[in-house]
């Protein structure tokens, strides 16, 4: 079956395309991209005026909670949230119960994703058995089962030696090591960014140095081993400096930043709702100087990817005292509106850069298919609506959890439709023609 996306503006940095092109899909793959392609026997999907056709967005950092924490999220509900947010693929972290440290858990996740039939789900395996920070997990078997990277996310790779071994070992399989960079002794019992706002509210602080020290450590080790290291959810300006230093010296380091870290600051601890547990995440929201540094890094190319760190938690778990609440917020369904409203429309980045951050680069870092509209590539396509007004409503999220600090926000820019393997898996209300 053939389908023809007609009349949109194609933005595909990998293929060097930006302009009015049609995209012909055949048997789930990109068959042709060209100007004024004849419809022939293809079903024509008219792209609404002003919309952007780009390679499918990839969120390289999500928590899908299955197996073991299905009250927060399942692979199916997470995949539904992903496609509603414009993501055709997600990479899910291994801190499930049990931990994804063996091929059986990986296979289970992939099976659940296949049953859901929405977004592609790429599991990330554990660095260490049980993510306990002692012995390496069966990394080769994880790779064979379909893992695309390794990480002990939720915690840092425990020691410099373990990180060194993980980098060396994973490199044999072409997988990066993704580290949740945090020094546990400096973090202590911290629950918020160490600074004025946490001090005023009496919340135990986590200093930026907790992240920066491990980013520095890992960059040194990536230099030592020649292997690929990726910084998860970078938040501190000193970490960004470290990444610049590493890149300048040819170290294979890449990094991601979350929408909440380029939109919010630690002032959100106090306002509008004091002690709102939906602004509790790890790493914490930092100061305006850190937020501004992230904006700068996104604009100048130091930051490779935007990832959500989608971390669903049940309402009961969040409706507690601030220091007892779990860290994390959902992000899949608010990322694109936040990127448009806070990065593209204010002029920090171009549309081309947006697509690099959300598609081209995540595909390159994880070495997964997608991130391109090249002929023969899987027809994973996101159609963006830059001028769509989005009213975020936590109660209407597809995710099983509602823990977002953006409830009630009105943002300019959204998703018109999400196409995975040539099939429209999500279409915005009022753009039904794209679902044909």
């Amino acid at each position: 079956m053939k389908r023809l996306l007609k009349g949109g503006r194609v933005v595909d940095p990998a293929g060097g395309r930006d302009g009015a092109f049609d995209v012909l899909i055949e048997d789930g793959r990109i068959a042709r991209v060209g100007r004024d392609l004849p419809a022939g026997d293809a079903v024509v999907l008219p792209v609404p005026a002003g919309c952007i056709v780009c390679p499918g967005l990839i969120d390289m950092h999500v928590h899908l909670r299955e197996p073991g924490q299905e009250h927060k999220e399942t692979v199916a509900t997470g995949a539904a949230a992903a496609v509603a947010g414009g993501f055709t693929a997600v990479a899910c972290m291994p801190n499930t119960t049990p931990v994804n440290d063996n091929a059986g858990v990986t296979a289970y996740m992939r099976q659940k994703a296949a049953e859901a039939g929405l977004a592609r789900v790429y599991p990330i395996g554990a660095v260490s058995k049980g993510s306990a920070g002692e012995e390496l997990a069966d990394i080769g078997e994880l790779h064979a089962a379909g893992c695309v990277a390794i990480s002990d996310d939720g915690r840092p790779v425990a020691t410099a030696l373990l990180m060194r071994r993980a980098l060396e070992y994973a490199e044999m399989f072409g997988m990066p090591v993704i580290d949740h960079c945090e020094d546990p002794s400096l973090k202590g019992e911290g629950v918020a960014h160490e600074g004025y706002h946490a001090s005023l509210l009496g919340l135990r602080g986590i200093p930026n140095a907790s992240e920066e020290i491990i980013v520095h450590r890992d960059i040194v080790l990536a230099g030592l081993t020649g292997a690929a290291f990726h910084v998860a959810h970078m938040s501190a300006r000193g970490s960004l400096d470290a990444v610049r230093y590493g890149k300048a010296r040819g170290v294979r380091v890449t990094c991601e930043v979350t929408p909440h870290h380029f939109v919010l600051t630690d002032e959100a601890l106090a306002r509008p709702v004091p002690y709102d547990t939906n602004v509790k995440m790890n790493p914490p929201l930092c100061e305006a100087e850190d937020r501004d540094a992230m904006l700068q890094g996104i604009a100048d190319g130091t930051i490779d990817a935007i990832a959500t760190d989608h971390a669903p938690h049940h309402a009961d778990e969040k409706n507690v005292e601030f220091d007892r609440a779990p860290f994390g917020i959902v992000g899949l369904e608010t990322a694109v509106p936040l990127v448009f409203d806070r990065l593209v429309h204010p002029g920090h980045i171009t549309l081309r850069r947006m697509v690099e951050l959300l598609s081209t680069n995540p595909a390159r870092i994880l070495r997964v298919p997608g991130g391109t509209l090249a002929e023969g590539a899987p027809a994973d396509i996101t159609i963006l609506a830059p001028d769509l007004t989005v009213s975020v409503a936590a109660a209407r999220l597809r995710s099983k959890s509602r823990n977002t600090p953006f409830d009630g926000w009105r943002l300019r820019g959204g998703v018109a439709a999400t196409i995975v393997g040539g099939r429209t898996v999500w279409v915005n209300d009022g753009m039904a023609a794209l679902g044909a």
């Binding site: 160490e194 600074g195 004025y196 706002h197 946490a198 001090s199 005023l200 509210l201 009496g202 919340l203 135990r204 602080g205 200093p207 106090a270 306002r271 509008p272 709702v273 004091p274 002690y275 009961d316 409706n319 507690v320 005292e321 601030f322 220091d323 007892r324």
Partner: protein, 333 residues
């Protein structure tokens, strides 16, 4: 919720007209941060009137008859709980003490559930002491009853700051323009945070002193002068407040030893001589003699520590009265 929160979180000082407040705007007292300078003065003035009740042979008035006050304590506290209880009895409120040992939290009931259960008994006020900063905000969002924060984690202890202010005002006749010094474990102290807010709102010149390891990050934005020398801090001071040093701070690596703390930061008679001749010495209790304060200073002529305790009852009566039985309380008419 947003409507109720709209009035909160702003700076305390100067938001209200000079005419003075006649009532509190909120149903809750969560912190000094939520009070205007005029509201602070209203509580202090009301407390002065309440003091007279405590001097009568029969120390009881019917003001809060038929009102229910729950004292919900998640932390051990003798002084604050007793003080609230005495205040409630003097105002004829029906009071109920619930002391939740730390282990009950492990049993699984959340604060939100505890609140809903209490709410079913329709109390007028809940007095909450809790180890988590912000716990009283959570309770106030859930409950229709007014919430009085009797100390939440490292955040605020508003009635302590109010009784301290009442004590200072009685002794000095004013707060504006005084040099007030606060010394001790600033990092973990809710008494510090409430006092800084109150004293700066009323125009005092506030200095704080602590070892660098116990100094809250960002304190320079609190509107105070932060020092690491007690000698420099107490120089010319009108009021010195000493905060308690908790023994468990040694384990966190904040301090080498209690003995060294006394050597470097303890308030001795010698250091007291650096202060103004009529300096007053305060302590929220319970004191560690020989750790943060020498016994001869604690018991000496400059000490007003026991007056603070007496004023605690009056201030808590004032807060209970203003929140549950005060003027213009149409909801219970």
């Amino acid at each position: 919720m947003s409507e109720r929160d709209a009035g909160r979180g702003g700076a305390a000082a100067g938001a209200e007209p000079a005419a003075g407040a006649s009532r509190l705007r909120s149903k809750d007292l969560l912190g000094i941060a939520e009070l205007t300078a005029d509201e602070i003065r209203l509580v202090l003035d009301t407390a002065e009137a309440m003091k007279e009740i405590g001097e009568r042979p029969i120390k009881k008035v019917p003001t809060l008859r038929g009102r229910t006050v729950v004292n919900l304590f998640f932390e051990p506290s003798t002084r604050t709980r007793t003080s609230f209880e005495v205040a409630e009895k003097r105002l004829s409120a029906d009071s109920l003490n619930i002391t939740v040992a730390g282990s009950s939290v492990v049993k699984g009931e959340t604060l939100a559930d505890t609140a809903l259960n209490l709410e079913a008994m329709a109390p007028d006020l809940i007095v909450l002491r809790h180890p988590s900063s912000g716990a009283s905000h959570l309770l106030a969002r859930i409950c229709r009853a007014g919430v009085i924060n009797a100390g939440d984690g490292m955040h605020e202890h508003p009635t302590q700051a109010l009784l301290d202010a009442l004590t200072i005002r009685e002794r000095k006749g004013r707060i504006a323009g005084l040099t007030v010094v606060i010394v001790g474990d600033l990092l973990h102290s809710r008494v510090l945070r409430s006092n800084v807010r109150l004293l700066t709102a009323l125009g005092a010149d506030v200095r704080v002193a602590a070892p660098a390891t116990l100094m809250p990050p960002g304190i320079e934005r609190f509107g105070v002068r932060a020092l690491t020398s007690i000698d420099a801090a107490v120089d010319g001071a009108d009021v010195i407040m000493m905060l308690r040093i908790q023994r468990e701070r040694m384990h966190g690596g904040f301090l080498p030893s209690l003995r060294e703390y006394f050597t470097v930061f303890g308030l001795t008679a010698e250091r007291l001589r650096l202060a103004a001749p009529d300096v007053i010495v305060m302590h929220p209790g319970p004191m560690n003699r020989g750790v943060e304060i020498a016994s001869d200073v604690a018991d000496g002529p400059h000490s007003v520590i026991l007056h603070q305790v007496a004023n605690g009852v009056a201030v808590r009566m004032a807060v209970l009265y203003l929140l549950a039985g005060g003027v213009d309380h149409e909801a219970t008419a």
